[in-house]
Point group: C2
């Protein structure tokens, strides 16, 4: 393995180990020694890649953002429903949050009041949800009475609730939980005639 | 002022100051010195009341639980709607979370993975929501198709989302936000004939 490739692997391992230790111990109490020992490298190797814990926290957040963007950047087949895309992507996000500790820590960082806000994944998620709802409205997919702002509020609040409650109990991030939420919400969102065409359980396998 | 009364006041001031410092600095980094100085008492006085930071955290959580119980223990006038009670109490909870730092920290403690779960306010809230929905169903207030479990999931996830997002931006806990959520959800919850009788904005002044 070339030296550069090895360095990239060590860096990736350190980022993942840092997220695991942040998730377990909380960011403020997490120690750099716990992170380097979890990654199986020396403290010196950690400091070669990251100048400080704050730098490591920032990088975990940046990587989490790329994971969120990967989840939300699905392209829509021609003529496909934006509402179905919204349903599918909330399922994909819940699934990713359940399995991906870096993404989970990245979301939790949005709520860290003791740290200046930088990336703010929850805010990015809110923007994506609202844009997708606007597209659905522009395509005439929504009920006449459906207010985008109401729906956006409910979807963002509920998904952040799933994310936060899922830290302790992963059934909050289960596909069945997300499907229950959509089954309840969809009749207020799309006209009755379109309802049968939308799968509350999502149309992609996780 | 009698000595005992003064001691009770000092203890109350310490609990509030602790919650303020936990809210601002995070629990793990909060220092006892910051708490005693915020409360305007000596470190010795703090230690007279609380043996350790952990003891103080536990007491903040206990006090937060009594505040939550005060919010959820509203008695229902004879013949009044359990659905309206649910709407009113979510408004009262959002309002209390906006103004009451002890309650806010108590809720946040539910998500602290580095600490053994004791009281768990989010879980208590979930139980109250589900019980109230069961009563609403028993009284025939709900739509035929409404699944209590679906509604409970949506209400608990969304309120926890409001709580968490509200730490950074209190508009998530505004009455207008809570009302938007209910305006969207109520048509899936109660039959059309009952809908006009339920106020999404709540029936009590905050």
């Amino acid at each position: 393995m070339a030296k550069q490739e090895r360095a990239v692997r060590t860096r990736d391992t350190l980022i993942r180990s840092a997220a695991e230790v942040f998730d377990r111990d909380g960011i403020s109490t997490a120690s750099l020694t716990a992170i380097s020992s979890r990654a199986g490298v020396s403290n010196g190797a950690l400091h070669f890649h990251f100048a400080s814990k704050a730098a490591l926290v920032d990088v975990v957040e940046e990587v989490a953002l790329t994971r969120l963007l990967a989840v939300t950047s699905s392209t829509l087949p021609l003529g496909a429903s934006h509402v179905q895309l919204l349903v599918d992507v909330t399922h994909a996000l819940a699934d990713a949050l359940r399995g991906d500790v870096v993404l989970r820590v990245g979301f939790a960082l949005s709520g860290e009041t003791s740290r200046a806000r930088r990336v703010d994944l929850r805010e990015r998620w809110r923007c994506w949800v609202e844009e997708t709802l606007q597209q659905a409205e522009a395509e005439g997919e929504l009920c006449r009475g459906a207010e985008i702002r109401d729906v956006g509020t409910a979807v963002v609040a509920a998904t952040v609730g799933f994310e936060v409650l899922g830290v302790r109990d992963s059934t909050w991030l289960a596909a069945s939980t997300v499907a229950r939420f959509w089954r309840l919400l969809l009749p207020s969102l799309v006209p009755a005639v379109r309802l049968a065409g939308i799968e509350a359980g999502g149309t992609r396998s996780p």
